[in-house]
């Protein structure tokens, strides 16, 4: 006689929760989807309609302003390469998705990070949630994204935000909590209120750490945007996906290398900005 332990219907529960959420919120989320989708499309269309060399010069100038001439040159050469291999449009699509997702991740993540730093209880709730968000295989986020936002860029954007946000939250909280205790005490001794302490002392000192978090968020966003090609996000990931389906190894590697180039450019620029803020603070 087999003694059977009943199986926990975890999958059913998750389905039930998602169904409930879809029933109640999909109206709202579809509306959001429409707005964001239009936004992403407009930005992408604008970039694509410009001659590529204009975009390349603009990126190089921006990089030069924010970082060094070397990094500016690297960016220009990198983008020129992407243009040359005929991946200009997918590159722009991926870039816009990464930047829009990162912008949302920051708008949501920084305030959550600040709250987590100020409230121990909130941090105890958020901490494990962040661990879960980061260890969950990233594909899983794609599935529920579809009923809420439909196939395409907005679902990709949503999944990317969820996947890429944790480092921003974590490092914002860490940066604030790492404020040297003697500086917190000095702020207290002069009668600073909680908000004065936060905005005049803790946040300014946390900025280099927060920038490190932003750098990580951008890198994670890029990796997620590639995966999101599976739900029709297009871009460089879409090229890889197409190559897989057609078993074209050469095209697959070409798109893969393009992603690496884009990643290097984004990483160098953000890392340098973070570094400069750290150095600024220490010895001008």
């Amino acid at each position: 006689m087999a003694f059977e332990i009943p199986q926990i219907p975890l999958a059913d529960w998750c389905d039930a929760a998602l169904d409930w959420a879809t029933d109640h919120f999909s109206g709202v989320t579809r509306a959001i989807s429409a707005v964001i989708g239009t936004g992403i499309e407009t930005i992408t269309d604008t970039l694509v309609s410009l001659p590529p060399w204009v975009v390349i010069v603009a990126v190089a100038l921006l990089a030069w302003r924010l970082t060094t001439a070397r990094i500016a040159l690297l960016s220009a050469v990198g983008f020129a390469f992407l243009w040359n291999v005929g991946l200009w449009i997918p590159t722009m699509q991926s870039l816009v998705l990464v930047l829009v997702s990162t912008a949302f991740a920051l708008m949501i993540g920084v305030p959550i990070g600040i709250t987590a730093a100020l409230s121990r209880r909130f941090w105890r709730v958020v901490g494990p949630l962040l661990d879960m968000m980061q260890t969950m295989p990233s594909f899983v986020y794609l599935i529920p994204a579809i009923p809420f936002f439909g196939l395409g860029a907005v679902s990709a954007c949503f999944a990317t935000i969820v996947f890429a946000m944790p480092p921003t939250i974590r490092l914002t909280a860490l940066g604030i909590l790492q404020t040297p205790p003697e500086l917190v005490e000095a702020a207290d001794a002069f009668g600073s209120s909680r908000w004065q302490k936060l905005f005049k002392v803790q946040l300014p000192l946390a900025i280099p750490t927060i920038m490190a978090g932003i750098n990580q968020t951008i890198m994670l966003a890029l990796s997620m945007v590639v995966i999101a090609a599976m739900i029709g996000a297009g871009g460089l990931g879409g090229e890889v996906w197409k190559a897989i389906q057609r078993l074209e190894a050469g095209a697959g590697f070409q798109a893969g290398i393009a992603i690496v180039v884009l990643a290097i450019i984004l990483d160098r620029i953000t890392q340098h900005v973070a570094l400069r803020m750290r150095v600024d603070k220490k010895n001008d």
Partner: protein, 418 residues
């Protein structure tokens, strides 16, 4: 003097800070620790029974307006906790801290912030300057918190920066300044608020010895001008002496003794105090007034030499001290200078007009004068009047006996011999 007697430096004036029965128990359940303390249990027992650490136990003292009070003790003695209870960076478990008539322990969180802004400036051991702000913006910080308008706060901050000798450095970042300069900036940040009370936590301990001494002297000089009430925490007895104020000596969270350094030397409360002051520079603590004695012979400067000589011979003394009609010190005469001078008045014969020290000066200022002179120097009051003399023998006695703070009998102002 027992720890619980409160010596009031000036009974007529109201204390600016009054600390009474201040107790701090750190731990999960401070009330249990407090209950045990109330039963007369000691620090070790409280730790064993409740896991609570007694940081402060029944600490009481007063700080008069314009006074520098040094709270002294080794690390772990509770001195820093005590300082932080005054502006409630540490919340006391029991007792009261009254600053300008307000019991700080009873303020609400909101009132506390306002009270800190208005009354306290604080200077920290590791400077605690904000690294992302220039010196000017650091010094402005307290004013910014108070909501002072930008132009006014820059003006006040610049005044404070000038006061501490940092003019021209206002646009630099703290990391570009040496330790000594950073602490000047820390001091300026506290002074810019024009607070009633300056709390200084081991403010000079992180500085090099030479710079530390300079800063101590400058603080004393500054204090003469700005007349703040200063509570200065230090582990260094020499620093306490250099600052020249009263000292509250703490050990294991309790006050062991309070008084002047000379009190500690002359009348130590227990062996701990005795050991604490063992290596003290006696000549730097004991004042000339403490060590002086009555002059053997005092003569007015209109006395003829012959008469002075006969008095010297009669008394068997080598030297007589000369004063004017008002009692001001005018020099000394000895038998050699008097012999054969006949009716010449002492005014014309007196030598060593500058061989005197101020009554309140430390004894070490007398050493050089004694070494070069006739074996005695005069001690004068602030008004220039003769108070007594110090001989080589007195100096040796002071060194040998770790001289008591109270002046020896017979050192009252001498009456001139007519």
């Amino acid at each position: 003097m027992t720890p619980n007697q409160i010596p009031h430096p000036n009974p007529a004036s109201e204390a600016r800070i009054r600390v009474r029965g201040l107790t701090k128990v750190f731990g999960e359940h401070p009330e249990r620790g407090l209950a045990l303390l109330a039963q007369g249990k000691g620090r070790a027992e409280v730790l064993k029974d409740t896991g609570c650490v007694v940081g402060l136990q029944d600490v009481s003292f007063d700080v008069a307006p314009g006074e520098i009070l040094v709270v002294m003790g080794l690390s772990g003695s509770g001195k820093s906790t005590c300082l932080r209870c005054i502006n409630r960076l540490v919340t006391p478990s029991a007792g009261e801290v009254v600053v300008d008539g307000t019991d700080v322990t009873r303020l609400s969180e909101h009132e506390l912030l306002a009270f800190r802004r208005k009354h306290f400036g604080m200077v920290f051991q590791q400077f605690a300057l904000f690294p992302h702000r220039t010196i000017l913006r650091n010094v402005e910080y307290g004013l910014e918190i108070q909501g002072v308008a930008p132009t006014e706060r820059t003006e006040r901050a610049m005044t404070a920066i000038e006061q501490v000798g940092l003019k021209g450095w206002d646009q630099h970042l703290p990391s570009q300044l040496s330790g000594g300069m950073q602490q000047r900036a820390g001091l300026a940040r506290a002074l810019a608020l024009d607070p009633d009370v300056l709390l200084m936590d081991e403010a000079f301990s992180a500085l090099d010895p030479l710079i530390r001494r300079d800063m101590q002297q400058e603080l004393v000089a500054l204090q003469k001008r700005v007349k703040k009430t200063i509570v200065f925490v230090s582990h260094d007895l020499d620093e306490a002496i250099a600052l020249g104020g009263r000292i509250v000596l703490m050990k294991d969270g309790r006050v062991v003794q309070q008084g002047s350094a000379a009190d500690f030397l002359g009348n130590p409360a227990d062996d701990y105090v005795r050991r604490f002051v063992e290596h003290i520079d006696v000549l730097g603590v004991v004042t000339a007034g403490d060590a002086m004695r009555a002059p053997a012979l005092v003569a007015r400067w209109d006395m003829p030499a012959a008469e002075a000589l006969s008095r010297l011979d009669a008394a068997g003394e080598p030297v007589a001290t000369v004063i004017c009609e008002e009692g001001r010190f005018q020099g000394t005469v000895d038998a050699t200078s008097l012999r054969g001078a006949g009716g010449t008045v002492l005014k014309l014969l007196a030598a060593d007009r500058h061989a005197f020290v101020a009554e309140r000066a430390p004894l070490n200022t007398a050493v050089v004068a004694l070494a070069g002179g006739r074996g005695e120097i005069a001690v004068v009051g602030d008004d220039g009047h003769l108070r007594g003399i110090i001989t080589n023998a007195d100096l040796v006695a002071a060194l040998a006996r770790r001289h008591r703070a109270t002046p020896p009998a017979g050192a009252s102002p001498a009456h001139p011999v007519q």
